[in-house]
Amino acid sequence: MTETIAYALGGGALIGLAVSIMLVFNGRVTGISGITNSFLTAQEGRLWRGVFIIGLWLGGFVMAMINPTFFAVPDTPLPSVLIAGFLVGFGTVMGSGCTSGHGICGLSRLSLRSLVATVTFMLAGILVATGLKYFGGV
């Protein structure tokens, strides 16, 4: 238990460092849903956004080489995965952010808007995951 807490804290600190580099150098928020959406739709700023996503991929690739269990996948049925992905894409654009943009960057600068968003998606996530556990397989 203490070991996993240390990993969570250390990983979290690295994420905090990453979003800080983005802020200090580029003056931007590291909202991953926003960056992905703007990469797909915006005319300008495609270079830094595309390169950011490649950085994520390369990081995932390297970490999977070091320890594949970091990416262990549960046997979620494919339809659930697809519906979940669709809702996450639609919802994060509609709500202007996800766990990174609202949850980390927004809360760090004490944005009330991000606090409302974070509480909302946390509660919705808890409701669905807990509901599935008790009423799943209906």
Binding site: G11, L14, N26, G27, I54, F90, S108, V128
Partner: protein, 145 residues
């Protein structure tokens, strides 16, 4: 600064890479761990709270210090969001996102990072996520007419 655009890209590559390391070390790229955090039962696993407890203080301090400057290092102005309105879209959109998150245990960052790890499930998820983003565009267009 003629090469500003390229220097910014180098910075955001470093950010993406570091972010991916942080996500995988912290456990965020394991959907079952995320679902263990979101499922409130006798096996509730609270460790993912510590990801936020690790990230927020670090960023809060750098945010406070950085914003004392007139501009970021590689740009002439700040691009931090200034909206403060608690809109219907904010709440409904966040709720929809939460439903998807609770369903599969992936949020956008860990899903994209897991694509790099070669996970097929993450590839399907990201494909559907992109479809959802485009669907929102169509939805917005049809309502702004």
């Amino acid at each position: 600064m003629k090469y500003k655009k390229y220097l910014q890209a180098v910075a955001s590559f470093v950010v993406g890479f570091t972010f991916a390391l942080g996500l995988s070390i912290s456990g965020m790229t394991q959907p079952s761990k995320v679902l263990g955090f979101l499922t409130w039962d006798e096996n509730w696993d609270p460790t993912l709270i510590f990801v936020m407890l690790g990230a927020i203080p670090v960023h809060a301090i750098t945010y406070y210090l950085a914003r004392k400057r007139k501009s970021p290092l590689l740009d002439s102005e700040w691009h931090v969001p200034t909206t403060t309105k608690i809109s219907k879209e904010l709440v409904i959109g966040s709720a929809l996102f939460g439903v998807g998150w609770g369903l599969a245990g992936y949020c956008p960052g860990p899903a994209l990072t897991s694509v790099g790890s070669g996970s097929l499930q993450a590839v399907y998820f990201v494909g559907a996520m992109i479809a959802g983003m485009f669907a929102h565009q169509l939805f917005k267009k049809s309502f702004s007419k």
